[in-house]
Symmetry: C2
Subunit: 544 residues, 2 copies
């Protein structure tokens, strides 16, 4: 039978436009041209200026031949140009490639070559790194240097023959008719995974997903119009979780921050009335480390979104006392940033802090713009029982899952097998539908046929007052197949030895989970702060 609701009711430009977050900035500039968009030190930029400068940037890029499918890279800190490139680059059809500035030159060079980067924006502070990068890579990107007038550079500038950012931008036509994506499925960005093993993979995001996550951030965080956002999260992480676009949708204010340091954070909160900020747990530690909190204590509540690791109980408690509401999020580069949220229930407020922390340690439920989230048995592709015990793999289905990995069909076929995105993260599902991470697939320890979560052992170790950080890996064992092995960083001026650690674990863990080996030393981390377990595995082979 013919469906009458599909007859002569086709898409046309009047009723169908590609979704793109670029339209948020156009609207913000049209409606609130004089509202402040960006604060950086003493420099304030209005929405009219922000939009105009983004169009100028797009024009100048187009003049250099940038078009749909071109890659434009950045080695920038959380400064205004980093916001401008999030609009200017896609406004000429090109793809944003924001590079983690903490990476080593060889890895950066790999990314530039893989993405065939044609232009590289960089901050003067990173000139010497750029020089080294260029000696490693095949591509010869056009260089554009940003000199931050709000910052006192310590080192002498490195002359690489780069264009000056302001001059380059100012050449642009402020009335440039920027390009809408031809299709909302067009790429807006490429971001590389940190690659704890193997070559980094280029995660391609599209306009549709960026539009939806940008709105989703505001929706799940109840961010009202004119919110004020502090940039403690590096914008090179999944395009700042799409917040560069979220803020234009709600006509909010970006407060830039070159470095995550306690005093400027507290000062911004007070001076600019920061309403929201994001970051890994280390950012909370930095905030709480400040000894003059009383001088800057704000009158309003500040919302802090954290990801990468569950917020520990004592940190939660101190953050609450300091006037912050902490929300725990979880996501991957492949999901544009946060895709899972620990949605808080008002009735949980009455629980004690230990119970609250235990509930808040769970990653939670699907973000509003994510259609499906599940913990599946990867063999059967069936959901694990929601018993809080059975481990499965976290899988996603929805519009905020990446377009795929760039030039890597094999990885795509694997990642999307069975119609779900396989995160590689292992988790349990609690009876109330909240999931909790237990491990990365490759970090699980299988001992005597039992799956052991290295996170569970690490958490047990972290409960001891001497322990600053802990990383547990599997080591081969003739009898059990694998056994856990613990690497421990002690707090300053604390003493703890293997016997004490063993006793502690015996008292706090089921016996089959107790590590057989204990090493006390610094734990190696990636530039993004992730523990490099593969380095520890190599080390353990030599030590045992």
């Amino acid at each position: 039978m013919v469906n009458p609701y599909n007859q002569d009711l086709d898409q046309n430009p009047a009723n169908y436009q590609p979704l793109t977050p670029l339209s948020f900035l156009e609207r913000a500039s049209d409606v609130f041209p004089d509202h402040i968009a960006i604060i950086h030190g003493n420099t304030k930029t209005t929405y009219r200026e922000f939009y105009t400068r983004s169009k100028q940037l797009a024009f100048s890029l187009a003049q250099l031949g940038m078009t749909r499918g071109s890659t434009v890279s950045t080695l920038l800190l959380n400064t205004p140009p980093m916001l401008e490139v999030h609009y200017g680059i896609p406004m000429c059809g090109a793809v944003i490639h924001a590079i983690n500035t903490r990476l080593d030159p060889a890895t950066i060079a790999f990314q530039l070559d893989h993405a065939k980067s044609e232009i590289l924006f960089y901050d003067r502070e990173l000139g010497s790194i750029v020089k080294e990068v260029l000696s490693h890579c095949q591509v010869k990107p056009h260089l554009i240097e940003f000199v931050d007038s709000e910052y006192e550079y310590k080192d002498a500038p490195v002359d690489l023959g780069a264009d000056d950012y302001e001059l380059f931008l100012n050449k642009g036509d402020s009335n440039y008719q920027w390009l809408m994506p031809e299709n909302e499925w067009d790429a807006i960005s490429v971001g590389y995974t940190s690659g704890t093993t193997g070559d980094p993979k280029g995660v391609v995001s599209h306009h549709r997903g960026a539009y939806l996550l940008a709105q989703g951030n505001a929706m799940v965080a109840s961010m009202p119009k004119h919110s004020v956002y502090l940039w403690t999260l590096p914008m090179f992480h999944c395009n700042g979780w799409c917040f560069p676009w979220t803020m234009s949708a709600i006509i909010g204010i970006h407060v830039c921050l070159r470095q995550v340091r306690a005093e400027p954070i507290w000062q911004s909160i007070k001076t600019h009335k920061i309403s929201h900020l994001c970051g890994a747990p280390i950012v909370m530690s930095v905030i709480l480390s400040f000894d003059k909190q009383q001088d800057y204590r704000p009158d309003h509540q500040v919302q802090f979104f954290t990801a990468a690791a569950p917020p520990p109980e004592n940190v939660l408690k101190q953050m609450q006392q300091a006037g912050f509401l902490v929300t725990h999020l979880y996501g991957l580069t492949e999901t544009y940033g946060p895709a899972v949220i620990n949605e808080w229930h008002q009735e949980w407020d009455s629980l004690n802090m230990t119970e609250q922390a235990s509930l808040k340690a769970r990653q939670g439920v699907r973000y509003l713009p994510l259609e499906h989230l599940s913990v599946l048995n990867p063999e059967t592709m069936k959901p694990v029982p929601a018993d809080g015990k059975t481990i499965g793999e976290v899988m996603f289905q929805g519009n905020i899952v990446m377009k795929g990995y760039l030039k890597n069909k094999t990885a795509n076929d694997k990642a999307f097998a069975g119609g779900w995105f396989h995160s590689g993260d292992l988790a349990v599902m609690h009876p109330d539908g909240y999931l909790q991470l237990k491990d990365r697939s490759k970090d699980i320890i299988i001992s005597g046929g039992e799956n052991i979560s290295s996170i569970e052992i690490e958490e047990a170790l972290l409960k001891n007052e001497c322990v600053a950080a802990a990383a547990v890996i599997a080591v081969a064992n003739e009898k059990w197949g694998e056994v856990p092995c613990a690497f421990i960083e002690l707090k300053v001026q604390h003493q703890w030895n293997s016997d004490e650690a063993l006793q502690w674990c015996k008292s706090n863990l089921a016996s089959f989970k107790v590590p057989k080996y204990y090493f006390f030393e610094d734990i190696p981390r990636t530039s993004t702060g992730k523990i490099q377990k593969y380095v520890l595995r190599e080390k353990a082979k030599k030590l045992i």
Copy 2:
């Protein structure tokens, strides 16, 4: 050149799902199952129950053969079933057809026939109307009667052999695997224009647009999680402007209301801490008419969204004093409800009430999910100058413009000519980019070659303290082509005659805009409260 960002990066179920607002309810039920979703009198429904009942309804409808492309109609008031059908009907793939309960039986019959309705849900109170409707129409829809246990029916029930709503729903399988749309472009609803002239047209909306406007409402209104919404806007108006879906996205509470009466509104605001409500200016009049406001005055600010006519200065003032923040919206059935918003600038708060009212009388700027809004010269399709004077036609481009009119290719070709949706509304564009309606195309008066806005004349008349309502139309005139003719409703116990009215207009309008004729009598209105100017035109022909 091949664009590498389009190679081996296709859509698959892991990274592409059709947008549909139905997924909001599934999430609300999964994450906040025990949160209250609906309050109706003494009955409270949780999100788990709301979702379960919607699935049961969908199952029972599917059992009756409802499938993709079927039309299911409703003659319901703002009661819980009206919310349940907004999920249950599309969950089996069918299309919601919510009928204005104030229409005459012949018009309702026309709609049922045109949409080939297969099922009709109705409230017991409307039984006698349904009986009459059925005598007019060709289709024989399956009847399902809702008996509201929270309401005392005055009239005896009319026996039409209908199924009972609760029994029908309870037969349904609560684990029904409801249908996602095959495509986000699939129809979710059909709603008929009120048809001031000619046959009503069936406006078809799709899942994509409903998803985007539902979120857009929350975004532009800064509606936080757990907002509480009072149903003063009839849900048969553009599916309640998509708020039935908005509330699930933010896990809010619906407070139902069968009738718009002052005391229950004030009582709800106080008891349930209503945060948001919507309605035509008449709803504000009802609210302000209540003489015991002091007894129910809430501690919090209430947001009121109004559309259909600019809020008059004295109403704005009184609403502000009563604790309401009024926002002026504008849209059409063809745009899912509001598509234009009078975005308020904080600095305008310091202006006097006359200036504020004059700024608030403007319809404003594009809604966040609308891509483009313009006032174009329909001949040249070029924007009119933003001078606040030159009249053009309001046109829309974006994802919250309808799929089209059902079975009406001619109307679609006309409505979408030149790639813009032609609203038929005339407006000026102010220098700051805010548009202001001046008239419907067919209501403009062309006198001596000058375009005269009938709204402008009506506003001038309304400024006189004697005038309750005014409608101005064009009448033929040998010398001028057309001249304005005014119909005036006086306030109770007020006296005003033609000479006084003429003098008033001469003092308040440019001379060419002064009406030549004045009639003092009741003004005919449609069921939705719109003035029927075509009736006045017929009348004027006889009177002059």
